[in-house]
């Protein structure tokens, strides 16, 4: 059954499908595929995935339960939104005002309460190859992350990377999780990573770090750039990494040789007032960077809220894994920061006419336990959580699915990460046939109610 992407036969021809299958192998461009009639016209041109690493609490964000006992509902009040009868946690007043501009999935659930495993499921739509705290890989080869799949079919002729991650690699403990790479799709589909360093107020390219404070802003002439390239390649050769690095490094330097491309990363080109509106947190500025990237046509941008899940141990804003001090951290930091950054991102995209063509998704790997623990925190909860979707063909103001009285389980319309991945593919016009032609198994179903 072909279920990834839209229903077969509805918007493209079988001949086109066959041609598309061959085309993807032959590396035909996205417009060529469209011209072949293999693909449905995409609803979105770009995706911004806001990855809330660590797992936000559904009850404290977008699925409050004001009538639940206090040991479940917590200390925060709920507030009305611009959708009649829909309430959010009180830490999200700006998003509440914009609730009629996005939609929610309140019946998300996933297959693991381990950050590493759930992270893989969330980013790839499959548990295959996931590695959790036990260190044991789950059966099967890890699938390419959603951004890599988009990069495969939306290769840019401009030479810019099609898949960019803003933020460090996602970790559980000291180990990077599985699920942020292109896997068998090849190095061309690997994410090009940027990091916004809030302490230095600069964008960094970790892949090009030479320990000399090299930043896009400082690469002001070709000679300096050439020297840096030579030094980096020499270092890579010494480390026997040349073959693995060369493709990416070449791509990066090719990018940086072009001033207009380097300008992409320079947030100093933005109005200070707008930067303030996003919040000068790493996440806030990363959201602004994401907007700059989609404005230049990057098809998939993933913004990682943090590198690690822990709230207190991170180079970013601290993760969402609030086993203790959940409510204090939510009130002092995470709530206002998320509210401000996402609200501004939606406003900014809208004012530039980009929201209709940009799918914004904000979600973590799971939710948090409805029953508050004895450390004023909430633990991992894979059975029920929420996702926010806006733009890119999403009909705004809808709440799809519901949870039970304590947000413990979906009551109606349960949705899995594989379904969410299929929905993103669908918005980008990728059909199940095209996915299969790339060797991708198809697991999820499109949440059609969103469109």
């Amino acid at each position: 059954m072909l279920i990834l992407g839209d229903t077969p036969g509805r918007s493209f021809t079988r001949r086109g499908v066959l041609q598309a299958g061959a085309s993807s192998v032959l590396g035909l461009s996205w417009p060529a595929l469209l011209q072949a009639g293999a693909l449905e016209k995409p609803k979105a041109k770009s995706v911004i995935l806001l990855w809330l690493w660590g797992g936000p609490a559904q009850l404290d964000t977008f699925d409050p339960k004001p009538d639940a006992p206090v040991e479940f509902r917590g200390p925060f009040a709920s507030i009305p939104t611009t959708i009649s009868g829909v309430r959010f946690g009180e830490l999200f007043p700006q998003l509440a005002q914009r609730a009629n501009q996005f939609s929610l999935l309140r019946g998300m659930h996933t297959g693991s309460n381990d950050h590493g495993v759930a992270g893989t499921i969330g980013l790839t739509g499959s548990i295959a190859g996931a590695v959790g705290l036990d260190g044991k890989p789950r059966s099967g080869q890890a699938r390419p992350t959603t951004g890599s799949i988009i990069a495969k079919v939306r290769r840019l002729n401009s030479g810019l990377p099609s898949f960019m991650v803003v933020g460090g690699k996602l970790h559980q403990g000291k180990k990077a999780i599985v699920g942020e790479t292109g896997g068998f799709l090849g190095s061309a589909c690997e994410p090009f990573r940027l990091e916004y360093d809030a302490s230095e107020a600069k964008t960094r390219i970790p892949g090009l770090e030479l320990g000399q404070g090299l930043t896009p802003e400082r690469l002001d002439d070709r000679r300096k750039l050439g020297d840096a390239f030579a030094a980096l390649f020499s270092q890579a050769e010494k480390n026997f990494l040349a073959s693995a690095w060369s493709g990416h490094v070449e791509q990066a330097f090719a990018l940086l040789l072009r001033p207009e491309a380097r300008n992409l990363f320079d947030l100093n080109l933005e109005m200070p007032r707008l930067r303030d509106q996003y919040g000068r947190t790493r996440f806030g500025q990363s959201c602004l960077l994401a907007r700059r990237l989609v404005e230049k046509g990057i098809p998939f941008v993933q913004v990682n809220w943090s590198d690690h899940v822990e709230a207190e141990e991170d180079a970013g804003d601290g993760g969402w894994d609030h086993h203790y001090r959940n409510f204090q951290i939510m009130a002092d930091r995470h709530g206002p920061w998320l509210d401000r950054a996402v609200s501004t991102l939606l406003d900014d995209l809208k004012s530039r006419g980009l929201l209709d063509s940009t799918l914004v998704v904000a979600v973590g790997e799971f939710g948090r336990s409805p029953k508050i623990n004895d450390k004023a925190g909430r633990d991992h909860w894979e059975h029920c959580y929420s996702a926010l979707l806006a733009g890119g063909g999403i009909q705004p103001g809808r709440v799809i699915g519901s949870s039970d009285a304590r947000a413990e389980r979906p009551l109606t319309r349960p949705v899995t990460p594989a379904d969410l991945a299929a929905t993103i593919h669908n918005a980008m016009g990728i059909t199940s046939e095209q996915s299969q032609s790339m060797g991708l198994a198809v697991d999820g179903e499109v949440v059609h109610e969103l469109f």
């Binding site: 004001p66 206090v70 040991e71 917590g74 200390p75 925060f76 009040a77 507030i79 009180e90 830490l91 007043p93 700006q94 950050h115 559980q172 403990g173 809030a198 302490s199 107020a201 200070p272 930067r275 303030d276 919040g279 000068r280 947190t281 899940v309 822990e310 207190e312 141990e313 991170d314 180079a315 804003d317 601290g318 894994d321 086993h323 203790y324 001090r325 409510f327 204090q328 009130a331 002092d332 930091r333 206002p336 401000r340 508050i372 004895d374 450390k375 004023a376 925190g377």
Partner: protein, 296 residues
């Protein structure tokens, strides 16, 4: 007659010049510019220094600095990535700091209450780890601390008599009670409580009796702090849609917005003479320390 008038109006002085429609904004001075996230601000007893929590280079640490524009923030204790420390409070003589020490274990942490000398040496455990313990605050006479703990299941406020080690439970409610702050005479404690459905500012006697609800607003009210003369309470509220610092009389009357800024203004602390209020705000982008002048 002048003396009589002055004594009548003196208690209301803090409310006469506050930011509100028609009033000129209060003069605000920015002290730091590094923009790192800061919280839990407190002025030293002599008014010369500020103590605060800062996330610096990925680590949560206690820092102190002169209460002057451009002064450098200096970590109080050599930071470690696995032992964040935060939410500090100076003793009345500023010789000691009581704070939360966290030992990270995987994705979890173990909190305990420690003290350290003001020069950063002599760390001692005051309340060993038992549960979630946070927000330790010295009483004005320095003989006890109040703090927040979940040792009985949910967040309640406790006090510890330093000499005897006796622990007293001050609040007993299934809701959340936290953010405690002593009144200058040591007879009352202000705190935030969700017992009415969302966080409101309450006060109680120092033994936990006579809990009074001081605010009544659907928005979040938190981090209360008494003015040095005990006649008013500053607190944080998002009743304007974002965090601002408010000031009200001790009985909860006449709440006024002191900051009225679209930025996130939080963690108020009075200068010892009560003339200035320090707070943390991201009004200029990053999170920095500011002061505003309440009266001349």
């Amino acid at each position: 007659m002048k003396t009589l008038l002055a004594s009548f109006f003196l208690p209301f002085l803090p409310f006469l010049s506050l930011a509100q429609p028609g009033n000129p904004p209060l003069a605000v001075t920015r002290l730091t510019t590094d923009g790192a996230f800061k919280s839990h601000l407190q002025w030293s007893a002599d008014g010369k220094k500020l103590l605060f929590t800062r996330i610096h280079q990925g680590r949560m640490e206690l820092s102190a600095m002169e209460a002057l524009p451009g002064a450098k923030a200096i970590p109080l204790i050599v930071p470690s990535p696995n032992t964040p420390h935060f939410d500090g409070h100076w003793s009345p003589d500023s010789a000691l700091v009581v704070y939360v020490h966290d030992t990270l274990q995987g994705t979890d942490g173990k909190l305990q209450i420690n003290t350290v000398q003001a020069d950063g040496v002599g760390v001692k455990t005051l309340v060993p780890h038992k549960a979630f313990d946070e927000s330790p605050r010295f009483s004005p006479d320095g003989k006890s601390i109040a703090w927040v703990s979940t040792r009985d299941g949910n967040q309640e406020i406790y006090s510890l008599e330093m000499a005897s080690g006796k622990i007293n439970r001050l609040t007993q409610n299934p809701a959340f009670d936290n953010n405690c702050s002593w009144k200058g005479d040591g007879k009352k404690i202000a705190f935030a409580s969700s017992r009415s459905g969302n966080f409101e500012i309450c006060s109680m006697n120092q033994n936990g009796d006579q809990v009074l609800r001081l605010t009544n607003h659907p928005a979040l009210d938190c981090w209360p702090v008494f003015s040095p003369d005990g006649k008013s309470i500053a607190f944080t509220s998002n009743r304007t849609g974002n965090y601002d610092i408010f000031l009200m009389q001790e009985n909860g009357e006449n709440p006024r917005n002191l900051t009225s800024h679209p930025g996130q203004d939080n963690f108020a602390s009075f200068s010892p003479d009560g003339k200035r209020l320090a707070f943390i705000s991201n009004r200029d982008g990053g999170f920095d320390i500011y002061t505003l002048r309440l009266q001349e």
